[in-house]
């Protein structure tokens, strides 16, 4: 209602006419986007994240070196432990090779290629685990908030999951499900499903709590009552009225969830649980290189930076989304 130009209507005098919005109808998502654009950090974060995703998705098509390729014979000795080319800037004696811009690891595998295929896994894990955790969290939060009777039980369940230790859980789950899963999804697919589900089911609690709180508050809003009085069935009440209105905390949880999942997967790899050894992920690349950190700092730095940058950009994205989705802030 920013415009104040009185609208001349034939029927009513100017003073009493309602101001009619002059702008074309716009969905509130456009508003959100407008506000989002204001947040420079979020914009940069969003773009960075997109670039990273593109790099790991499209990168291998451009940089078609096989991440698993091992040089043969004598070449092996020549090619292993190549430094990134930029090292040549300050160290003439350094072993560098334009064919391996980021160098190779101690077995001669191309670091750039490994970074890209590792990133694909890490980000895929982040995204899917986040989806799972959001799904679970929303479901449990909505049920707990909407159906009073379930509230106590579900909140205690949340306590339980908060208390469960992740590592033994991973061990148990891989004991129980690994063979079945790898029969269904293949070896790597099986581990992927396993890791993703575990991260997912151990990280939904936060979302659930927030969603529950919001649903409790929403339940008191009049439009829910109105929806009931126009005969909306509970199913649609939840889908049409509750869910869209808890989207903003969910979206924020989602961005944080990606970050948490990427870090958790990396931490698991770091502690030696997770994917098979020849299946690079950023966490594993980092973990495997910590030993040689002072010899080949780039092997720690690049995956470390990749993880941090991804998480950082996603966090900024979440920050901006929170501002953009909060009608109080957006209104300003």
């Amino acid at each position: 209602m920013t415009d104040s130009a009185p609208q001349p209507t034939p029927k009513r005098i100017a003073a009493l006419s309602d101001p009619i919005p002059t702008q074309p109808p716009r969905s509130q998502w456009l508003d959100v986007w407008d506000q989002f654009k204001q947040h420079r950090g979020a914009l940069i974060g969003g773009i960075t994240f997109l670039v990273i995703i593109l790099a790991v998705l499209v990168g291998p098509a451009v940089w078609w070196v096989d991440a698993q390729y091992l040089p043969k014979g004598r070449e092996f000795i020549n090619l292993r432990d190549t430094r990134p080319i930029y090292v040549a800037l300050w160290d003439n004696a350094a072993k560098v090779d334009w064919a391996h811009p980021l160098g190779t690891d101690n077995l001669g595998r191309d670091t750039l290629a490994r970074m890209m295929s590792g990133g694909r896994v890490s980000i895929a894990v982040g995204l899917t685990a986040m989806l799972l955790s959001i799904l679970l969290g929303t479901l449990i939060g909505v049920v707990a908030g909407y159906f009073r009777r379930m509230d106590g039980v579900l909140m205690r369940l949340t306590d339980l999951f908060l208390a469960l230790p992740l590592l033994p859980l991973i061990l148990v789950a891989s004991l129980l499900f690994r063979e079945t899963l790898s029969a269904i999804f293949g070896v790597e697919g099986g581990v992927f499903v396993l890791v993703v589900s575990l991260i997912g089911i151990t990280s939904w609690m936060h979302t659930a709590r927030i969603v529950r709180g919001d649903v409790l508050a929403l339940k008191e809003r009049e439009f829910i009552l109105a929806a009931q009085s126009i005969g909306t069935k509970p199913k649609y009440l939840v889908i049409r009225h509750l869910l869209p209105n808890v989207m903003s905390p969910i979206m924020v949880s989602a961005t944080l969830g990606i970050a948490v999942a990427i870090i958790t997967e990396s931490a698991l790899s770091f502690l030696g649980f997770g994917f098979p050894p020849d299946f690079p992920t950023w966490g594993r690349l980092l973990n495997d290189s910590v030993d040689r950190m002072d010899l080949y700092p780039e092997r720690v730095l690049w995956p470390g930076l990749a993880i941090s940058l991804t998480v950082l950009s996603v966090n900024y994205l979440g920050d901006g989304l929170r501002d953009a989705l909060d009608p109080r802030i957006r209104g300003r």
């Binding site: 100017a14 009493l16 109808p25 009552l225 109105a226 126009i230 005969g231 909306t232 869209p244 209105n245």
Partner: protein
Amino acid sequence: MLDQPIVDIRELRVEFQTRGGTVAGVENVSFTVKPGETVCIVGESGSGKSVSSLSLMRLIEFGGGEIAKGQLLFNREKGGEIDLAKATQDQMRKVRGNEIGMIFQEPMTALNPVFTVGRQLTEGLRVHRGMTAAAAEKQALELLREVRIPEPERRLKQYPHELSGGMRQRVVIAMAMACRPRLLIADEPTTALDVTIQAEILALMDRLKRETGTAVMFITHDMAVVAQMADRVVVMFRGNKVEEGPVEQIFNNPQHDYTKALLAAVPKLGEMRGKAAPEPMRLLGAENQRIAPIPGTDQRLLTVSNLTTRFPVRGGFFRRTVANVHAVEDVSFTINKGQTLSLVGESGCGKSSAGRSILRLVEPMGGKIDLDGVDVMALDTNQLREARRDMQMIFQDPFASLNPQMQLMDQVAEPLRNYDIASGSEISDRVANLFDRVELPRSFLRRYPHELSGGQRQRVAIARALALEPKLIVSDEAVSALDVSVQAQVLNLMMELQAEMGLSYLFISHDMAVVERVSHYVGVMYLGRIVEIGPRAGVFENPQHPYTKALMKAVPIADPARRKSEKDLNFKPIPSPIHPVGYEPAPSVYREIEPGHLVLTTDSGY
């Protein structure tokens, strides 16, 4: 000296930087306030009333505003005139609270929830008067007495949430008056309050003003309050002052179109005297208005008997029900087809609960509800859903009762979809027709609620309720949150629909003037019971129950000639509706004064 104004606002312009560019909250406003005078500033929502007052306090900066132009000359007690628009924040701190006091609209949120009343009261005294804690406390006590708060000693140690709305507003007033400011700014101090409390607060302010000689700048959109309080009136419209003058002149001889329209839109208590049936208001500028009484029929549509709704209060270790909130207690009434029954009463007396109980949105404990032959209480979930096609509800807050995330079209179409009444293009046709019906442009179909003004939203809500072509609409304070002018339009709309479609309304409101305008029958509620019910004329012209009488007395009338005086008011504090489990209240017994006009004889607590 006396003629010299305390404040002289000259060509004030206040701007806000928003995403959509610079917005002027106030475009060009000038007026003065003289010592000992009450200047009322009126205008519709968003006209810049608050912005003007906040600029005067230089608080506007904290809200993102900026005084772009103009002078705010303030006559200081010592040291002559100062232009507040150019004063430093340091200087302002000495003025604020000390020389200018301010009262805000929302008593619920204006106090800091985590500090005691005493602490918040003494703060200003200690800063501005340099008092010791003990002295300030004594002074605070004195202030509380002045604003007539019962048991002031105890209040000092209480937290804001432990006080009722009226008491809180008194605390806010006491705080504003603490340092004996020369100017008191009151920004809609009574809008959020009940009539009875409003009357008391208005009387209190009037007395304080008289006793201390403080000048008052009183902001409101309620013309009745203006008539009650003002010496002079400033009318604002979309950021500009459009008219200014002594109160009688404004009411009797308004010059500007807007002022005229505004006054025409204000329902005045007593206006309907002698008219048999309600009729739409004559609004300025609306041509070819059909002003015809709406008689309705004598056919019964809804019969409610002995309706009782209680909310359990759980407590103790096992969270058993330890008490009940007796929200609705043995209430009976009937509504005829095409007629309106209004329920009036103070906040918390159970009006909404009664309305919701009829739709079984809250589950009543007992009683019978018969809607056109359907025993609503006996229905199961599915049947109830079917039955709700015949009764719909409109809610108070147009901002809260629409889903902010759905297009208007979908919101209005939702009931149609829910009951499979229409499908495909038929839906959009019907929705478009409904929009026509509530006089909304069809271009709004694809818009979202936040793009609309309050009145427009309320029309959407009405359209949604109409979609199912119900027989009964429960309107729970449907117009209370709207500006007077908008309120009048919505009221007229509702009445026109009633005339055309033969709708029945259960009209819930706390505004006596509005109720008088729209009702065929009126029920007065107090503490869960109807204490008096009957034809409008009977209840308004011949009130019998002491509570009804007190209520009538408290209502300010939009006519400066009919001001109320403080001694007319005598309200008792409302007793708690919470009773321990096992408490069985006596049944409601009524005395019939004239045909259909019943007065409660059971002790209602008043």
